[in-house]
Every structure is written in structure tokens, then in C-alpha cells.
Amino acid sequence: MFEEFYTIAQSINNEYIAKVKEQGALCIGYTCSYFPEEILHALGIIPYRIKGLNVSSLSIADAAFGPFICSHPKCLLQHFALGDYSFLDGIIVTPGCDSMRRIDECIRKTAVNLDLPVVPPFFFHYAVPHKITEYSVKWLVEELHRFIDSVSAHFGLSFSYDKLKESIAFYNRLRKRLEELNALRIHYPARIAGADAVAVYVAGLSMPRDRFYGMMESLLSEYTGTALEDRKRLMLIGSANDDIDFIKTVEGETAVVVADTLCYGPRLEVDYVDEEDEPLHALALRYLNHSHCPRMYGGYKQRLAKVVEAIRIAQVEGVVLQNIRFCDLHGAENGLIERDLEKLGIPCLRLEREYGPLADNERMRMRIDAFLERLEVRRLVCERP
């Protein structure tokens, strides 16, 4: 049932991309969930959320990035340098965080330094504000205009607002499907493993969306779910993660991740783009407001409220707060979340990890097991008459 999703999610290129590329379609990669895929979709371009999976060495990335940088963008750079992303016709770099924003220069300079064809022909630095105000939304609308002009001119495409409206409607339908999938996660008992759900989300970001929609429809019509009884219900919070194996490590045999705030997933809730509003304004509003990322400074209380609500709805027993080393945004926010959730009586586990081929897998496994034991004790105490 999920094999195909896993195959797509756990590889960089896939047959679906290859097929449409053969037919002349364009594919553009992007680095951050603040970019509205709807625009690319409206232009007939395949959006691709860049991943860093399966890297076995960081030799090239280490030469460009400094030592105090998150391993996630390093893995992305390594893939570019190795030519793994040669199927991309463009890349959109967002200053999502300082480690990721510098992939802009690192890709360009690595190409020159090593004489590698790593730079896609279209390169766009997409500036997203860090706050939600009338003028920052206006800025983002202008930024989307700038992107449309730039990409249309580069590839000789014509942009149509009617097409964009259709794409917005399509993505809203897709979000509806994702919501249905999410319902299986938060069901008591959970009817889908967190790893399976994340595999679906990540696959969705790595292939033509229309095809993905069809696969989602089939999945939801055929899959009735497997009741995952007696598993500790966990929520996963923190740094970006496109690595299904990491979710499997967290879940092991006795837990299930029923909710997450990870930026390769649908975040905490699936909110829709207003189809009645002017499309670019609607997109700017949705993508700034939907954010559940500490890059939006000063929004901690709202994010915490969303987490608490998700914990209530999904009947979460414990929260795993993870951050990739040098991810200060999530690392620091995790400290606040831990303090505030523990005050509310919700057990938390903070993990600092490396992104990549699970170098510290066993260390994490041991800590997660200890945390699950804590939850087990708590269950026993709560069940006492």
C-alpha cells in the first residue's frame, strides 16, 4: 500500500519526474515551505521540495560551508555537487534560516570552484518576511509578482490568473485529502504509523502533484487502516525532517507519531487558501500565516497554542522535541516548549541530532526508549483506581 510512497520519498529522483521531464515538462526545486507551489503548478512546472537524503559523505559540502552549520543544507549541497539534482531546471532559495539561505552562494561557488555543473539554469532568491503585518503581506505579494515575472521571462512562459485560481482550488482539494490522511493519524487508536504518513507527505513534495493526488485518492479509498493498539502516542516537533528512518527510530515497536510540526509535512493543521480573495494576496496570507516555524520571531505563543491544541485533539501522551545541531531556531524554541508543556503535565524529551544517515541512531534510540518507559510509568499511575 505504501511501498510506492516510500520509494519516491526515499529517493532523490524518481520515475514520475523522469517521465514528465521526457515530455518536456520543467521541474523547479525549492528549499522552504514558505514558497507557494500553486504558482509553479499554474505555470505547468513541477515543484520539488529539495531533500538531503542518502548522502554518504559531506566532503564537498564541508569545503564550502563552515563547520558550524546544520547538516541538512550540507547534505543538499552535496547532492547538488554530485549532480543528483541535475533534473532540476531551477532552484528557489529562501532565507528560511541562516544555514539554508547560504546554500545560494555555496551552490554557485561550488560550481565555479570544482568546475561542476551544479547550478540549475534558473536561480531565484525568494525573500520572505519574518513577520505578519499588512506591509509584510504586501511585500510578499510583490515578491510573488517578482517571481512570476522572473520565471515566466526565463522560460518563455505565459502566466494566467485563471490558471492560478485553478491551481489554488486543486491544492485546496489536495489539502482536503491530506486532512483525511491526518484523521487516520489522530484517530484513537491510530490507524496509520507516523512513518507511513510522513512517507506520503514527503512523496507528495517530490513528484508531479496531479499524479500524487491520484495516488492519494486510491490510498484513501482502499486503505482502512490498521489499529495501532497500545502504542505510546507521540508528537514530533522541531527541525526539518524528510528522513522516514528517523520517524521509524522514534516510533520503534511501541510508539506511534500521531502529530508533528515538521516542515516536510502538513504542519499541525491544513489550512486552506481563500479562493474568494485576490489569488496572490490569498497565497501570501496563507503562507505567512500557516507558518509554524520559529523563523517568525515573536510568534511563540501562537505556536505553543497550536501545539497544545494538537496534543488535545490527537491525545498525545508525550512530545519529542528534536533539533539538528546548529539549528538554533528550533533548538531554542524547543527549550521554551519543553518548559511550558511540562508545566501543563505533558512529558517532553529534547533531542539534539545530526541530519543524515542516522549516525547517532542508537544513542537516540536509547533516549527515546527511556522516555517511553517514563510514559509507561505515567500510564500505570494514571490507570490506578
Partner: protein, 467 residues
């Protein structure tokens, strides 16, 4: 944190120490020499600062800054935690007292042998990351532990420029449940749209500050401060000319005084006094140079393309003196006024700010432009090789100062610069400047001892035949 450290508020302790230090020269030379015997732990930093003619005034200014913080509430003023790259001029215009984390951190590392280690560590105890920048953590730890003047509001302007900086302020505000405001910086500088964004953002900031302080912005007061800033810019411009002379006609700490003073008292008369004193010293020494009188010996000259190293007793400056290294500027001492020498020389007017004091709108546009061109805010907001960004600034300044080499020094917390400093160094090398990357932490010697840092620096100088 040790109980002993909680006995006194750290800012009060710093204030009393700087206050005492600033009075050391008030007596006779003999009294001063004897006094030094009684302060073995503070002797070296004091001696180093007093090597400059403006040293005493610099210490007085620092003491005044701390006095303002410690006694703010007693004087009916609000305190605002902010960052070095936020111009405090607007806070002074609204009678709000700035509490600049990085400045407090450096005041402590210069003076106390133990540095700020325990405050740094306390941040981690509170849940903040150890990988974050030590410049904020060094004093934020004390404020998290409630051993400093209580903070009333938090303002930062680094979102879009420096995550670890912005994140520290956001964390503190959330941790203490305080009002928080952030100015946002788009990744490029010269565009109508960007200017408009800065001005709108700045107006929102003023609204926030008025609300928090309960005071309305006094237009005349703002004009007065901006006029003073213009005066300060002119003095800095003159100093920059002297700093490009070889050998250096000014004390090696001049650049430090310029930027530290500006971070503390932009637009305030006390800073103007300091600059005037430095300018007078420069004028006198340039006259001597022109008469052929050798006032110093310089083997080679460095340009620090980011920040300095703030280890105890100003040992960086001591080392530069010992090695006869001329050092006249870094990225922190540049504020990019339209009259600034590198701006004039390179015809970069569009990337510079102009101060206009006619209407309120003009003043707000000016102050927003000043703020968006503060050190770091200007140079690392976008791709480093874009126009008016870090590479261009570095090469222009290194050339203007006639530098023989370039040094990068920061902190392991500086995600932004570590994301591309190796690439920048490649480019500066290509441009003909031997470039040294320090792997130290400018605010925490535990990361790499000063001795190790110095050894590596000297090795670089020897290997590249710069000594």
C-alpha cells in the same frame, strides 16, 4: 550558576567597576601607579585603555551607559533590551534606556578574567541552545537569572540578517513574557520597495515604543539627535581619513572606541566629545607625520572583516601593538553615511543614508535608513557577493585602509557568516589579500584559548611573510 554570582546584579557590579576605573586618572601619576598595585585583576585592561588619550573619556562613557541602565527605573525610565546593530538613537529620542546585550557581554569579558562563562551556561540551563551566539548569551544569562536591571521591552532588528541574534531576543521575550518588536530586513538594500518597507517597519516600531513607554515621540528631540548624529558622522569621516595613513597616527584602540561609542550613544553629546578628542589627537599626529616625525612603527596592516576578539584585558589590541600590526578598522566601525569616505570614493551614494531633518517624514526616512545600514545589518543581509554586501564592503575598506591582510573572527554561533566565510576568504585571497579565518569565539575563551588563537594568528603572519 554559583550563588556568589547572584549576590550582586551584574550590571551594577560592572557599573561600579567602570566608574572606579574611569576615576583612576583623576589623581596624580603616583597615585595612579599605586592604585594599579591594588587592582591586579583589572590592571591590564585599564592600562590598555589608558594608552589612548581618549581612554579615560571612553571609560567614563561606559560607566555612564551602565549608570543609565542600573538607575533607569529609579529615574522613571523604561528599559529596552536590544542589539548592537540597532541604532539606539530612537530610544534616546523617546527617553528609553537601551540595554544592549553584546555591549554588556564585552564590558564583562574585557574586565573579568572569568569572562561570562557562567552566564553563557545559564542560558543553556534555561533551555536556550549552546550553539547560539555567545555575544548575546554572555549577558542574557544574567538577565534570565534575574541578576540585572529588569527589562521592560525587547527590540531587535536582525531578522533577515542574523538568526542567532534575532532568536536570542525572541527567546528572552518569550521566556520572560515581555513585549517584543522586530524590525525586518529584506535580503537586499538598494531598491525603492526595500526603502518603503524599512520606513513602514520603522513607523511600526515607533508606535510600539510609544505604547510601551507611554511617551509620544518628540519631533524636536528627534531632530536634535539626528543633528548630533550628522556631526558625529563628519567626525568619523575625518577619523577614517587619518586611519588610512601609514603608519597609523592614532591609538590601535581607536576603531574600538568609534564603534563601541556609537553603539552606546549614537546621537548623544557624550559620544561627540569622544570623537572630537580622537579627531584632535589624529590632527596633531598627522601634523607630526607630515613633519617627518615618526610616531609609530608598522610592519604590516590588517583589516578585520567582521568583528574583533574581546578577550580579557583587550589582549587582541595588546598583541597588535606588540607585533607592530597596524589596525585601523573593521566592519563594525562603518555606518555608511553618504559623506563616508568609502561611499564617496566608490560613488556608492545609493547604498548610503542621508540625514534630513526638515519634516518628521524626512527624519523617519533618515533614521530608518541609518538603522538598515548598521554594521552587520547592511553587509550580511543578502548573498555575500551581491552589490553592497559583505565582499564588496570588505574589499573596499581593506583597500581604503591599505591593509596587507584580512582577518575573519566571529563566534561559532554565527550561522550566517560561517555559511559562506570560506567562500569569502577565497574571493579576498583572489583579490590579493592573504586571509586568515580565526576559529575562536570572540566572547568565550573556553572555545579556543587566547594563547591558541594568538599562536595561529602569528603562524599565519609568519607563513604569509607579513611580519
Amino acid at each position: 550558576m554559583r550563588k556568589a554570582l547572584k549576590q550582586y546584579n551584574f550590571d551594577w557590579m560592572l557599573w561600579r567597576t567602570y566608574e572606579a576605573g574611569s576615576r583612576l586618572l583623576a589623581g596624580t601619576r603616583q597615585e595612579y601607579d599605586i592604585a594599579l598595585r591594588y587592582i591586579p585583576n583589572f590592571r591590564d585592561p585599564v592600562k590598555e585603555v589608558f594608552k589612548a588619550k581618549a581612554g579615560q573619556l571612553f571609560l567614563q562613557m561606559t560607566a555612564t551607559y551602565l549608570d543609565n541602565i542600573v538607575n533607569a527605573h529609579q529615574r522613571g525610565k523604561k528599559t529596552c533590551m536590544t542589539t548592537f546593530c540597532f541604532s539606539p538613537a530612537i530610544l534616546y529620542a523617546l527617553d528609553i534606556v537601551p540595554v544592549t546585550l553584546e555591549l554588556l557581554t564585552v564590558m564583562m569579558t574585557f574586565l573579568y578574567k572569568r569572562g561570562t562563562g557562567e552566564f553563557l551556561d545559564y542560558c543553556n540551563e534555561a533551555g536556550f541552545t549552546e550553539t547560539s551566539c555567545s555575544s548575546q548569551r554572555g549577558s542574557m544569562g544574567a538577565l534570565l537569572a534575574d541578576i540585572g536591571t529588569p527589562i521592560d521591552m525587547v527590540v531587535t532588528d536582525s531578522p533577515g540578517v542574523c538568526d542567532t541574534n534575532a532568536n536570542a531576543f525572541a527567546f528572552f521575550a518569550a521566556y520572560k513574557d515581555l513585549p517584543f518588536f522586530q524590525l525586518n530586513m529584506p535580503p537586499w538594500l538598494v531598491e525603492e520597495r526595500v526603502t518603503e518597507y524599512h520606513v513602514q517597519d520603522y513607523k511600526a516600531l515607533i508606535g510600539f515604543l510609544e505604547e510601551q513607554s507611554g511617551k509620544k515621540l518628540d519631533v524636536d528631540r528627534l531632530r536634535e539627535i539626528l543633528t548630533e548624529l550628522q556631526k558625529q558622522d563628519e567626525l568619523i569621516n575625518e577619523l577614517e581619513q587619518y586611519l588610512s595613513y601609514k603608519p597609523l597616527p592614532l591609538s590601535v584602540t581607536t576603531c574600538l572606541f568609534i564603534y563601541a561609542g556609537r553603539f552606546m550613544f549614537a546621537g548623544m553629546p557624550i559620544y561627540t566629545q569622544l570623537l572630537e578628542m580622537l579627531v584632535n589627537e589624529g590632527r596633531e599626529n598627522v601634523t607630526l607625520l607630515k613633519q617627518g616625525i615618526n610616531i609609530s612603527h608598522e610592519k604590516s596592516r590588517g583589516f578585520f572583516c567582521y568583528i574583533d576578539h574581546y578577550t580579557h584585558s583587550l589582549r587582541l589590541w595588546q598583541m597588535l601593538e606588540e607585533l607592530n600590526i597596524g589596525y585601523s578598522g573593521n566592519i563594525l566601525s562603518h555606518f555608511w553615511a553618504d559623506s563616508n569616505p568609502p561611499v564617496v570614493h566608490n560613488n556608492w551614494k545609493e547604498a548610503a543614508y542621508s540625514i534630513k531633518t526638515g519634516t518628521l517624514e524626512e527624519m523617519l526616512t533618515s533614521i530608518a535608513a541609518i538603522n538598515s545600514r548598521m554594521p552587520m545589518i547592511k553587509s550580511i543581509r543578502g548573498p555575500y557577493d551581491s552589490p553592497y554586501m559583505w565582499l564588496q564592503d570588505t574589499l573596499a575598506l581593506a583597500s581604503m585602509y591599505k591593509a596587507d591582510f584580512i582577518v575573519y573572527n566571529g563566534t561559532p554561533g554565527c550561522r550566517n557568516t560561517w555559511g559562506m566565510v570560506k567562500l569569502l576568504a577565497q574571493d579576498t585571497e583572489k583579490a590579493g589579500f592573504p586571509t586568515h579565518i580565526m576559529y575562536a569565539d570572540a566572547f568565550d575563551d573556553r572555545v579556543q584559548s587566547w594563547d591558541a588563537t594568538r599562536d595561529r594568528f602569528e603562524e599565519f603572519l609568519r607563513v604569509r611573510r607579513l611580519l
